[in-house]
């Protein structure tokens, strides 16, 4: 099986889908001839033709709006928003239109579109190339939000997203495009090469939406994470002697509630980690769901480790980014009682 980094895996998913399904087409800023600023669509135009993978005007609203119209007609557009920070001009289209079309039309029209976008920090991208906007999508009924954390998942989940008949926001943790990143920015970079999850089949396969992945079994405490934070949490756990169960959520809508509840009932404790600002972030919803379902099993308050309630500050990258030591603290707090 070839070893792929996450970019290659995503590229392979798109390649497979362009090949299999003539209704699939790709557009977005710089995705055509150039292949995207992160190279995710590299060579797809050259291979599949100008009209299957092409550049779009700098207009995120227009990109999503056009995709919805194509999707309603029957195509399966996959669009790229160059950075998740720039998804906001398309927010109205996603919320008022894509998410609502099936419901309001009684199934008469649907929006089977996939909106891919690199997200998250740790790349010195500053305020507007580092944000994690998942919470503002999770709250919207009618949208699915998927976040892969490995090359294998990236490909399998992206294929699922494209085949899904509902609109999917597909957030790609750009910090781990080229290798798993454990939050120790001062240590040598790792590549995907040695990672078992970098064994990615060439052809078509899916990872279903809504099924989480147990990264590490454990009995002391449950750790919920997604995206880059899976690796940061993994590193933090390994720096303690705590036997933590680490779950990579993979998608936050649909959410794998059964796996979460089963694990927390087993461990009685939970730590949630995300990069986005804490207040109003997705960690709040997770905490509430756990409290509602596992209250009598909980032996300590659920801990949230998240970005601070400030914008993402360029020079303070490593002060802002939730680092392993903060997760270690939370783990210790969670098991203290």
């Amino acid at each position: 099986m070839p070893s792929m980094n996450m970019i290659q895996a995503l590229n392979s998913a798109l390649d497979v889908m362009l090949e299999r399904d003539p209704d699939v087409l790709i557009f977005g800023e710089d995705v055509g001839y150039f292949g995207g600023v992160f190279r995710v669509t590299d060579k797809l135009q050259q291979k599949h033709g100008l009209h299957r993978c092409f550049d779009a005007p700098i207009s995120e609203g227009g990109i999503v709006s056009t995709a919805i119209g194509m999707g309603a007609e029957g195509l399966r557009p996959v669009v790229e928003i160059q950075f998740a920070d720039y998804i906001l001009p398309a927010y109205d289209q996603l919320v008022s239109e894509a998410a609502r079309l099936r419901y309001r039309s009684g199934g008469d029209f649907t929006a089977p579109i996939t909106v891919r976008s690199p997200y998250g920090g740790g790349i010195y991208g500053g305020q507007t190339h580092s944000q994690s906007p998942e919470a503002i999508f999770a709250h919207i009924t009618g949208l699915k939000t998927v976040i892969p954390a490995t090359p294998y998942d990236a490909k399998g989940l992206l294929i699922s997203a494209i085949e899904c008949n509902d609109p999917v926001i597909f957030l790609e943790p750009k910090r781990i495009y080229n290798g798993p990143f454990d939050g120790h920015h001062d240590r040598p970079l790792k590549s995907w090469k040695e990672h078992p999850q970098a064994d990615v089949p060439e052809g078509h396969y899916i990872v279903p939406l809504g099924k989480s992945r147990v990264v590490r079994e454990g009995s002391d405490v449950t750790v919920l994470a997604y995206g880059t934070m899976v690796y940061v949490a993994e590193a933090a756990i390994s720096e303690t002697s705590i036997d933590a169960e680490l779950i990579d959520l993979r998608s936050i809508v649909p959410l794998d509630i059964d796996a979460i509840v089963t694990s927390v009932k087993k461990t009685g404790r939970c730590v949630i980690v995300h990069e986005a600002s804490k207040f109003g972030g997705f960690g709040g919803e997770l905490t509430a769901l756990i409290e509602e379902r596992c209250f009598y099993y909980l032996e300590a308050p659920t801990q949230r480790v998240a970005g601070w309630d400030t914008p993402y500050p360029h020079a303070f990258e490593w002060d802002y980014f939730p680092k392993p030591s903060r997760i270690v603290d939370a783990l210790e707090k969670a098991i203290r009682v």
Binding site: G62, S65, E73, Y103, R104, P254
Partner: protein, 412 residues
């Protein structure tokens, strides 16, 4: 900090209409070229040769109901009669549903008054495989294509037979089979879908097209520019239309830019043809749509059309226009009434007469009355609705655990 008083010497220009309630209505500033005075270019003319069109006003029917000039549609008298009947049906429908709202049978309604040609004519002039991305004043499209009136009313009453399952505000229909895209309360946000739909048709190598319509007030939304940009860049087979009915709720068209230029002139910024048309002139409307459709189907891309018309009544059942404009403004609108003008033309052609007209009106009323009665028998808002399960369906293709749990919580 300068005093409030000095602010009265503001340099900020705020457009304000010349007449308000109590004033004599006044359209004397309106320049109305003679019918037939704008020549019709070939459908495949280069954009450079079309740049004066946005500043003219394409008119075919003159004051006497005679058809003048080059902009003559390829429509038979029979199909024009269908258009007229559709408009009469639209009027009967509007009257009945407005009354129904006043009687509490539904929460809300919007009339088309004065703009009836702009629903019926495109529906007839375009093909069955074309898709309309309508505004909420285009029920005429559905009526012209024979969509069951009872289903419209079931939707408006949100009763147990509502095709949209009680989920939508009245009149926000969706009817794919009839080429009518799902409406929503948000204005403007579907214009780009029309462009995407059209691009999909081109992608497939088909020659069907999309027509997407927006009110003149709504042209200020960013969506509109984005749609025009994509339509122009990818030469999408789409007809983009602005219904300039002079008003956006209480706001006159000057707040949308009409003090400075025409809405059709926006086309120039995208290098596509911009046609400005008398929207109360059925023949002219039909003809420009034919022209734009031919262009689109030939792969020559998008056209922008401004339909110049007048919203003859309130914005919706929630609105009282006498609060912000002279009461009799509608009656002196210099471009007349689309029904009367078409009637006059058909009468001149000996294809129609007063008797047939009155018959058509009675028939229309009867049709609507029957449908309304039948719908009411099913139920009205508050007395009948879809199964409560419908509240939870179609959020996704398959419900996730949240929906399943909540369905249980409701106790279904």
């Amino acid at each position: 900090m300068p005093s409030i008083k000095s602010r009265q010497n503001t340099g900020l220009h705020i457009p304000d209409p010349i007449c308000r309630p109590g004033d004599e209505p006044d359209f004397s500033g309106l320049i109305i070229p003679e019918a037939g005075s704008v020549p019709r270019p070939n459908f495949d003319a280069e954009e450079q040769t079309l740049r004066s069109l946005p500043y003219g006003l394409i008119r075919t029917l003159d004051d006497k109901g005679e058809a003048k000039g080059d902009w003559q549609p390829n429509a038979s008298l029979e199909s024009l009669i269908i258009a007229l009947k559709t408009m009469l049906l639209n009027r009967a429908f509007d009257a009945a549903m407005f009354a129904a709202q006043r009687q509490g049978k539904t929460s809300f309604f919007m009339k088309t008054s004065g703009e009836e040609a702009l629903g019926a004519v495109p529906s007839l002039a375009l093909r069955k495989d074309d898709m309309c991305f309508p505004t909420y004043r285009m029920v005429g499209w559905l009526l012209a294509r024979g969509y069951p009136i009872i289903d419209l009313i079931n939707q408006i009453y949100n009763n147990a037979e509502d095709p949209l399952k009680g989920r939508q505000l009245p009149i926000l229909y969706s009817a794919r089979e009839y080429g009518f895209y799902s409406l929503s309360g948000n204005v403007g946000s579907r214009i780009g879908h029309g462009v995407g739909w059209a691009m999909a048709k081109a992608y497939r190598g088909l020659d069907s097209l999309a027509m997407a319509v927006i009110g003149e007030g709504t042209t200020a939304e960013g969506d509109y520019h984005e749609a025009l940009t994509f339509a122009s860049v990818y030469k999408a087979p789409v007809i983009l239309c602005v219904t300039n009915n002079q008003w956006a709720i209480s706001t006159f068209s000057g707040i949308a830019g009409a003090e400075e230029t025409t809405f059709a002139a926006q086309a120039l910024g995208y290098g596509i043809p911009g046609l400005r048309v008398d929207g109360n002139d059925t023949l002219a409307v039909w003809s420009v749509l034919e022209w734009a459709a031919k262009r689109a189907r030939a792969g020559l891309g998008a056209t922008l059309i401004e339909f110049f018309t007048y919203r003859a009544e309130g914005h919706s059942t929630s609105d009282d226009p006498t609060k912000y404009r002279p009461k009799d403004e509608p009656t002196i609108w210099p471009l007349g009434d689309p029904v009367n003008r078409l009637k006059q033309y058909l009468t001149n052609q000996s294809a129609w007469d007063e008797k047939r007209h009155q018959e058509a009106i009675s028939q229309a009323k009867l049709k609507v009355k029957k449908a309304a009665k039948a719908a009411e028998d099913i139920g009205i808002l508050g007395t009948s609705k879809s199964d409560i399960e419908e509240m939870f369906k179609h959020v996704f293709e398959e419900p996730d655990w949240r929906i399943k749990e909540q369905v249980k919580e409701v106790g279904i």
